[in-house]
């Protein structure tokens, strides 16, 4: 069984939800602690949502210096699948594993609503389950989810197919080019502002669409093992 690690930083809040989503998808979940650089043999890592270090200084700016992040950054450069959700996305940007930055929502309010996304790229470790153009419904909830980057970076992201999901039927935070999720060039690192881990049970979520991210990475890992 593939092992998915979920990191807990001081101030992580959706770590339990990410672990539940991975478990429901059929993964073995390993909880990782910010101060412990050991990844305990996991095959993939989720950086969960929350307010790591109280979002002091800048969202994700302090978490990127946590001992576990050094190991994760190395592993990510070596091809390990890493998904950063919300605060995790912010951490990935601060750690320069993904380009650009997430800034205060343009309307200045925290906003939580059920949000439609259009999947733009299914060639990543985390999105192979989806078809391109597919629309999915997952919760969005953030105060600083407005993605920004310089024009050249944005054009490169577009050209390389690195924009993985866009907001449709309304942009909840003013994000540039309606960007909801991006990947690195290799496709193993995904940053996503909305919360797939909150759309994994009919009882508690607006859909089951979030499961696709977790089953994608499990398939990716299984394929890699079969190929090896």
């Amino acid at each position: 069984m593939s092992k998915i690690g979920v990191v807990t930083f001081p101030g992580s809040l959706d770590d339990g939800d990410a672990a539940r989503a991975a478990r429901i998808s059929g993964a073995e979940v390993v909880r990782l602690w910010h101060a412990d650089p050991d990844l305990h043999g996991v095959d993939a890592v989720v950086l969960p949502g929350g307010f790591s270090y109280g979002d002091y200084l800048r969202c994700g700016a302090i978490a990127r210096f946590a001992p576990v992040m050094e190991t994760i950054a190395d592993a990510a450069r070596g091809g390990m699948p890493v998904m950063g959700i919300c605060n995790g996305f912010q951490i990935l940007c601060e750690a320069h594993l993904l380009p650009g930055a997430l800034t205060r929502n343009q309307h200045l309010h925290f906003r939580n609503r059920d949000q439609w996304l259009r999947m733009e790229n299914s060639s990543t470790a985390w999105t192979n389950h989806f078809t391109e153009g597919q629309e999915i419904l997952v919760p969005v909830k953030n105060g600083e989810g407005c993605y920004v980057a310089d024009r050249r970076t944005l054009d490169e992201l577009e050209a390389n197919g690195q924009i993985v999901a866009r907001y449709v039927r309304g942009n909840p935070n003013g994000s540039t080019r309606d960007i909801a999720a991006i990947r690195n060039e290799a496709g193993n690192v995904l940053g996503i502002m909305p919360h797939p881990e909150h759309a994994v049970e009919a009882l508690t979520g607006p859909s089951l669409d979030g499961l696709g991210f977790f089953s994608s990475v499990l398939k990716h890992l299984a394929d890699a093992k079969a190929a090896a």
Binding site: T103, H107, V148, N171, G174
Partner: protein
């Protein structure tokens, strides 16, 4: 601190108090009466020191001693029905209710009204922080919050200042703690203009054998203070004492509103839960109102022990703080623990793991005295019970308000009311758009409802439902309610109506209501009319609970909500807790299946006094509120529980403010399915639609179970009227009346435009690129003054990525806003 600094402070010691018995003290400025001051001298056998005076003034204040309310609140205990579920009740930090053999929950609602007027963001934020620590102190993991908010007129300029700050504060603190906000209220009335109400509720889960005690037992045990450093925030009136010793006029008065740091509280929660799980502590108390003073004296008094405390060991934000300031400080995010000496290292180790400051500040003694020294000088030597338990108790005079008879005679039932169908349609839309009935998304979208992954129902549903156990599906339902206009017209009946509504909101989901918490918001207790309203409201809740057979487990009283001689409406906010064996069986409020039959449970009478229609159409408040029938409410609850178990009812929505019309609007818009209904022929169509009779529920029932459904109604002796059916997605709402009110049809677009536009229009569209409601400037000032960043963190200097960014989204603001608007419409 340097010795010089200490000398400059001229600390008032017990020795000083003994040698200068006649020194004049500012007890009046601190809110103590002459006879109260004499009693303190009697207890101590000398004049109090400045620190002792500060402690008595806070502990004997209305807020801490409940001196005006105590004689009335006793009824909650005396009239309480026997309950084998209640593990802890009134007088504890929060009531504890057993759910099954293993699990208990603890819940309470508390006010933070005055601070939220002075400084809306921090006032509301620390209101959430405070109630969460109460829950934590019982040994529970907090798992949700709710908020009941009341503001002045929606279009008043000051509401523009207060509401956005309060909402951002409730969200800012709760979101950062990772607690889902699952419901509450927002209500506008001019009576709250200078006195907004911010009532916050939290609920936590604990193992039945994990209930924590506050007793400081075991002489020789260590007293440990954990959490944030102690600062000058929240010292309020005690600053009078500081000014007596400092002549320096430039000495800044720190704001008496506390400043919250939810990140520290999150770490504190995790630390506490580890301490509880490892059974490392003897006792625990949170630091809230009256700070260290309250925590030290209550823990010692409840155990009948004493304490020796070395005050200079408390970690301070400002080194120049005087002992009375340290004792009175209401700095947030602090807890007090009683720890056996052998376990101290383990306790400090857990604090270190989570990066929280923990400091031993003294020991438990068997002296029966709390003795506090400051750099070796004794500044306090008191019997703790005299502060915690023996405060003054007043049976204040009561008098029915002089205007009540006239007010009750001025009935809304005599006002002119529309009869034609087109008028009824206009009234429906006008009410749906009114500030008190319109869509609350502008507020609730600022709250995280998903975190922890157990939220089954949240606002705008009738009750919030949260799963406790993933395997069994066991869960709780909660609702917070009060119609203060009803309470103004008749505080006894109004309080009963608040209870009935909260009970019904929980019941319609299929949950079994089991316990009650209340937050009693009133004007000045020194005004006999207000005190009468208070006494009547307490009697109403106590009688209601007795009839319903569920106990009040705890709550909070907030007096002095008044400006000049004008008090707020009596506002007894009632929270009801329900239990669901399996949350998968919960019944939501929205119409969800075409062809389902619409049924109205209960009876509709001509009851328009105090209604939303009377206010919106005529700015009228008068008459008597609707009648309450608790037997009917119980019948509804019994019916709904059975219906949930058997799947006989698909949706259910309580009828309250705005009557049937508003329930229809909300049930249609929730999932976007239309409906067609025919109003009963024996009732005037306007009354059918807009009366606010209690004990009614609008349900939708799947076809094909007629017999089972009818026998269940009969079993519960519940009157029901078949109204019509649920139509297709996107279909209109069609209402067929009789006489002049023949028939009207209203499209979902019309409904949505009316219902959804009001708050964004008043408080800022909140869309990308759109103008945002002005953030109050005072807020920023207060935050900057006191925010502390964790000191140990070292971060490399680096240009923020954001500075390098190119803002592109300004390109098509119009398009974005429009698209966003569309999204809201399709969301339902």
């Amino acid at each position: 601190m340097s010795q010089n600094h200490l000398d400059a402070m001229t600390v008032d010691t017990v020795k000083d108090a003994e040698s200068t018995p006649e020194e004049l003290q500012p007890y009046l400025e601190l809110g103590l009466k002459d006879d109260e001051y004499q009693r303190i001298k009697q207890i101590l056998g000398r004049r109090p020191t400045q620190s002792e005076l500060a402690m008595y003034s806070i502990m004997w204040s209305e807020h801490c001693s409940y001196k005006s309310s105590k004689v009335h609140l006793r009824q909650f205990g005396e009239k309480a029905p026997p309950s084998d579920r209640m593990l802890a009740g009134m007088g504890e930090n929060a009531g504890v209710i057993q759910i099954n053999e293993k699990i208990a929950v603890t819940f309470k609602v508390e006010s933070h009204n005055h601070p939220s007027f002075v400084e809306p963001y921090q006032g509301a934020a620390t209101g959430v922080g405070g109630i969460v620590r109460d829950i934590l102190a019982m040994g529970a993991r907090p798992i949700l919050v709710m908020d009941s908010l009341r503001f002045g007129a929606a279009d008043h300029p000051d509401t523009q200042r207060v509401l956005p700050g309060v909402v951002a504060g409730v969200g800012g603190y709760g979101n950062c703690l990772g607690l889902p906000n699952v419901g509450g209220e927002v209500f506008f009335d001019e009576c709250y203009q200078g006195n907004p109400l911010v009532n916050a509720l939290s609920l936590g889960v604990l193992p039945v054998d994990g209930l924590q005690r506050k007793e400081a037992d075991g002489p020789g045990n260590i007293v440990v203070l954990m959490g944030a450093k102690t600062g000058r925030d929240g010292i309020g009136g005690v600053s009078v004492l500081a000014s007596a010793t400092f002549d320096d006029e430039s000495q800044q008065r720190r704001p008496s509103v506390q400043v919250g740091d939810p990140f520290t509280e999150k770490l504190l929660i995790e630390s506490c839960l580890e301490l509880y799980a490892a059974k490392l502590i003897v006792g625990v108390q949170d630091l809230g109102g009256a700070g260290l003073t309250c925590a030290l004296t209550e823990t010692a008094a409840s155990a009948g022990t004493g304490m020796d405390i070395q005050l200079e060991k408390v970690h301070l934000r400002e080194a120049s703080m005087e002992p009375q300031e340290i004792l009175a400080s209401e700095s947030q995010e602090r807890m007090l623990f009683i720890v056996e000496p052998g376990k101290l290292d383990a306790v400090l180790g857990i604090a270190q793991l989570w990066g929280v400051i923990a400091t031993p500040i003294g020991v438990v003694t068997d002296t029966g005295r709390v003795r506090i020294t400051f750099h070796g000088e004794t500044v306090v030597d008191v019997p703790p019970g005299s502060l915690a338990d023996d405060g003054p108790v007043y049976a204040r005079p009561l008098r029915e308000p002089a205007d009540l008879i006239l007010l009750q005679a001025d009935r809304a039932e005599t006002l002119p009311r529309p009869h034609h169908d087109f008028q009824l349609k206009d009234t429906m839309l006008k009410l749906a758009a009114s500030p008190n009935l319109c869509d609350r998304s502008w507020v609730t979208e600022q709250y995280d409802r998903y975190v922890l992954g157990n939220t089954v129902l949240a606002q705008p549903e009738d009750a919030g439902i949260v799963r406790l156990d993933e395997q069994s599906g066991l869960g709780v339902a909660l609702s917070l309610d009060c119609n203060s206009r009803f309470a103004r017209l008749d505080p006894y009946e109004g309080a009963k109506l608040a209870l009935a509504e909260a009970y019904r909101n929980v019941a319609v989901t299929g949950a079994e209501p089991v316990a009650v918490t209340d937050c009693l918001n009133f004007g000045s207790p020194e005004d006999p009319s207000v005190m009468w309203q208070f006494a009547e409201a307490v009697r109403g809740i106590a009688d209601g609970c007795q009839e319903l057979g569920i106990p009040v487990t705890g709550g909070n009283v907030s007096f002095y909500n008044q400006t000049g001689a004008v008090a707020i409406h009596p506002t007894p906010v009632v929270g009801v807790l329900g239990v669901l064996e399996n949350v998968a069986q919960r019944i939501p409020m929205g119409f969800s299946h075409t062809g389902d039959v619409l049924v109205l449970l209960g009876d509709t009478g001509l009851e328009l006094s105090g209604s939303e229609w009377a206010w919106v159409a005529h700015q009228h408040l008068g008459g008597r509120p609707p009648k309450v029938d608790f037997a009917r409410e119980q019948a509804i609850a019994g019916f709904m529980q059975r219906a949930a178990e058997t799947g006989l009812v698909r949706s259910a929505h309580d009828l309250s403010d705005g009557g049937l019309a508003q329930a229809l609007v909300e049930s249609v818009l929730r999932k976007g399915l239309g409906a067609t209904l025919t109003l009963p022929v024996d009732i005037e169509p306007f009354v059918s639609l807009f009366s606010e009779s209690a004990g009614r529920v609008l349900i939708s029932v799947p076809v094909g179970h007629r017999q089972a459904f009818e026998s269940l109604l009969a079993e519960h002796e519940l009157p029901a009227t078949i109204l019509g059916q649920v139509d297709d997605e996107g279909a209109d709402l069609t209402v067929i009346g009789h006489g002049e009110a023949g028939r009207f049809t209203v499209s979902q677009a019309e409904l949505r435009d009316a219902f959804s536009g009001t708050l964004p229009r008043m408080f800022g569209a909140g869309e990308p690129g759109a103008a945002v409601a002005a953030a109050p400037v005072v807020e920023a000032v207060a935050v900057v003054e006191t925010v502390e960043v964790a000191e140990t963190v070292v971060v490399e200097a680096e240009a923020p990525a954001a500075l390098l960014a190119e803002g592109e989204s300004a390109e098509q603001p119009g398009e974005v806003a429009q698209a966003d608007d569309e999204a809201r419409r399709t969301e339902g």
